[in-house]
């Protein structure tokens, strides 16, 4: 807990005051006891998680394993890919999705229940130092190269909803969405691929989650904030699968996500609180 070899977050770096010793002792001693009290032994957990959760969950998995002795492995991919895999019999203990569209249909069939553990919002990123895009209006300039997520990918769906909302508001003129889509040069299968294209300097702009602007990415890209009335907060649902062989440990993982520790790590990686 006290040493994290990961890249330090650029914003809201580690709070200067650490949690009190008693506090840490309490979490360190009691939480595992609490989690193990259900007769759960340490187990190997498989967590299917949306691409956007890559960094946050990697860190959460490490902390969770250290506290509980479990071995958590992750498969990160577009939520829709994970859903297809789960529907076709892939084995996982926990499914964390970036959208309800890819989650709700599975409740009762693949996952037991739905709990929201975080929220996220969209942002536009451009290569660092680029002056071509300062506002949403610039995104429709002819010749600009935009990359977004494909339809069916949660980030792609939210991007299209965002465009529809801008269109309805009429702030940026007629046919905003159509003019925007004319500049789209690629529709990627997951949101991290979208961010990568701007990071590599191949695209002039991309629409990703605020949580995708990780410390590693910040060196190469800058975010163009969206007007808050267009930037809807989208929920991240999580659930334990019905055929999990380690259901108690899987439930403990979900509980950890919702615990102050889990929420702190999620915030650190740019997610918003669940509630």
């Amino acid at each position: 807990m006290n040493h994290r070899p990961t890249r330090p977050p650029a914003s809201r770096a580690r709070a200067p005051r650490r949690p009190s010793l008693t506090g840490r002792l309490l979490t360190g001693l009691f939480l595992p006891a609490l989690l193990l009290s259900g007769g759960a032994q340490a187990a190997a957990l498989t967590v299917f998680a949306a691409s956007s959760l890559t960094d946050a969950f990697t860190e959460i998995g490490r902390d969770f394993d250290r506290q509980t002795g479990n071995r958590t492995t992750f498969q990160f991919a577009g939520s829709q890919t994970l859903r297809t895999q789960l529907e076709n019999g892939a084995r996982a203990d926990v499914f964390a999705s970036a959208s309800d569209t890819q989650f709700t249909p599975l409740v009762g069939k693949v996952v037991a229940a739905r709990q929201v553990f975080a929220r996220n919002t969209l942002t536009v990123i451009v290569p660092r130092g680029s002056a071509r895009v300062r506002t949403l209006a610039d995104l429709t300039r002819p010749g600009l190269r935009i990359v977004i997520a494909a339809p069916g990918v949660p980030a792609g769906e939210y991007t299209r909803q965002l465009l529809a909302a801008v269109d309805r508001a009429g702030t940026y003129g007629q046919d905003y969405a159509a003019r925007f889509m004319k500049n789209v040069v690629s529709e990627e299968p997951n949101v991290r691929q979208v961010a990568l294209k701007v990071q590599l300097g191949e695209a002039d702009a991309a629409v990703v989650y605020t949580s995708d602007v990780t410390p590693a990415l910040k060196a190469r890209v800058q975010a163009v904030a969206l007007p808050s009335r267009f930037a809807a907060l989208t929920p991240y649902p999580v659930g334990v699968t019905l055929d999990s062989r380690s259901a108690p440990q899987a439930r403990a993982f979900v509980a950890y996500l919702l615990s102050p520790d889990g929420q702190r790590t999620l915030r650190k990686w740019g997610f918003r609180a669940a509630r």
């Binding site: 829709q80 890919t81 297809t84 990359v147 494909a150 789209v184 529709e187 191949e202």
Partner: protein, 244 residues
């Protein structure tokens, strides 16, 4: 083992060739992707034939220092994972790449265009043709060429009437294999060319994209690919028979 090799392809055929095969095949998403794949692979095969044949001929006929090293380097993309090839292409021809940056200044931009698809295919498939063509030119009996020369044929005539026809089945077989490889290209394309319907989304990218939302088009395209693969192998076999 036979069942292991056969079952997946046969199941793909059975699942793909269902009642909705034709409507799905004729849907815009599928026709777009077949069109993109056909013309990009066609172009990359033409470029392969035009640009690689002379290289193969020279490598088969002339010895020089470091030839073995050069040949090995040229074969490299055959064993290189395609996604690694894509990264390499990106580092050279990407916007901030070695050649990409000057090209960008000149107003030429490759990434996310169909040209990038062709380049990814060319890079990963041309070495297959190079190997076959080199073997083809090497297999031509030099005595026959010399006999023709003694009988008064010029060098161009020897090439046109002796070397070329004898090597031709090899070249054709190599070309078919290169085309098949280009058609199956995925890793380099998605990294270097992106994925946009009707522009850069090839059959393999489409199967991958469709898998994530609607299995239907993925099954139909997979069935088409199985048929194409079967035809390719038949062609290669008959070419090999002609050669033998």
């Amino acid at each position: 083992m036979t069942a292991f090799l056969l079952l997946p392809t046969l199941t793909l055929l059975a699942r793909g060739l269902n009642a909705s095969f034709l409507p799905t095949l004729l849907s815009p998403a599928v026709t777009d992707t077949l069109r993109v794949s056909l013309w990009t692979t066609g172009l990359s095969v033409l470029l392969t034939a035009a640009l690689v044949t002379p290289v193969a001929f020279l490598l088969a006929r002339f010895d020089f220092r470091g030839k073995a090293v050069l040949e090995t380097l040229l074969d490299l993309p055959v064993v290189l994972p395609p996604v690694v090839a894509g990264l390499g292409l990106l580092l050279v021809f990407g916007r901030t790449g070695l050649l990409g940056a000057p090209l960008e200044l000149a107003g030429v931009s490759v990434a996310f265009t169909p040209a990038a698809v062709v380049m990814a295919q060319l890079f990963t498939s041309a070495p297959f043709y190079l190997r076959a063509a080199r073997a083809g030119f090497s297999a031509v009996d030099r005595d026959v060429e010399q006999a023709a020369q003694i009988d008064g044929a010029g060098r161009a005539q020897v090439f046109r009437f002796i070397t070329w026809p004898l090597a031709f089945p090899f070249l054709l077989e190599g070309l078919v294999l290169a085309w098949a490889r280009a058609l199956g290209e995925f890793g380099a394309t998605i990294l270097f060319a992106g994925s946009l319907q009707g522009r850069t989304r090839t059959v393999t990218l489409s199967v991958y994209a469709a898998l994530e939302s609607d299995l239907g088009p993925a099954l139909v395209l997979s069935a088409v690919m199985v048929c194409v693969a079967f035809t390719v192998l038949l062609v290669v076999r008959s070419l090999a028979a002609r050669r033998g």
